[in-house]
Amino acid sequence: MPNCRKFRRLCLEREDRELRPRETAFVDSHREACDPCRIQEAASVNSLNMLRAITMTVQPSDSYDSKLVRRVKIDRGRDRFAYWFPGIVSAGIASFAMFALLQLVTSSHPVKPFIDRSAGAQNFAAPDQIEPRLLLAPEAPRSITR
């Protein structure tokens, strides 16, 4: 049915442009002759009219502006923080490293090797290999009082 196809195409095009007189005449004559096309055209027009009829007109709520401005301010603050955040973190890491380095350099505790020289050992010995010895302080002279 090439005429039906043409009719349906023109019906859709009519929504966006004005049909030429010849096209209008064709649409009118075909509508009279073809029942399915007439019904379809009516459905198409109805559906689009219904769609246009439910267009919403919404007014912003009273708190719309204040809420939005607050959100913008928070967003800008967050942006500023995000901008400075890598710098702050780097500075923190650098200062921590400097502090640790200074601690290492300035600490002057002598390191005691585990060498038991009195026993004649020449090598380092692990702590568990060292025989425990009880070192007593020299006895103080006792004063006997009777």
């Binding site: 859709l12 689009l48 219904m50 769609l51 939005l68 800008r76």
Partner: protein
């Protein structure tokens, strides 16, 4: 609430004023920010409401669009293009929400045939719209409800005009079929 004093201005003067506001807004001027909000909020809200069919969600999306626009103001080469820039962001955010909604509702309840009634019609049409894919739905709404031209729809959706034509054709056809099924006209 802010009020945009644009009623006595010609379009070129309004554009010039908007350019100044955008420039001031870049510097952090709060009054310019308010003026921009006042000028564009109604249109943005209406479009978002028509696309999403939910007043509260529309408010949320339009605010998000403003936020994103202000955040990405440095990307705007021409300050006069702020209006289109903002509108595009809003439509894209709405489309993202529509896609998300569509993904969430895996199975849609079939619409029962009914007769008459404005409120019922509204509900039926909203349900039918929800059955269309996000791209088709947005194209149909922007053209039929927002009365945008093909060029404007193409710019907003960032697609060629030919795509808008074919999408609109498909959307109208599918919507008609859904309508016929729902109302039982045929």
């Amino acid at each position: 609430m802010f009020s945009a004093r644009t009623y006595t201005l010609s379009p070129s003067e309004a554009a010039l004023q908007e350019r100044q506001w955008v420039a001031k807004c870049r510097e952090g001027d709060e009054s310019a920010l308010g003026m921009l909000i006042a000028r564009h909020r109604n249109r943005l809200l209406r479009t978002a409401a028509n696309l999403l069919r939910d007043r509260h969600e529309a408010e949320d999306v339009s605010q998000e669009a403003f936020l994103k626009a202000f955040r990405e103001l440095h990307k705007l080469r021409d300050d006069r293009a702020f209006s289109g820039f903002l509108y595009r962001i809003c439509v894209r955010l709405c489309m993202d929400r529509l896609r998300l909604k569509r993904a969430e509702t895996t199975e849609f309840d079939s619409v029962e045939p009914h007769q008459g009634g404005n409120v019922e019609n509204r509900i039926v049409i909203e349900k039918l719209l929800a059955q269309l894919p996000a791209e088709l739905r947005a194209t149909l709404v922007l053209r039929e409800m927002e009365q945008l031209s093909y060029e404007e729809v193409a710019t907003v959706m960032n697609v060629p005009i030919g795509t808008v034509r074919s999408r609109l054709h498909t959307a109208r056809e599918r919507f008609r079929k859904l309508w016929v099924e729902a109302v039982g006209e045929q």
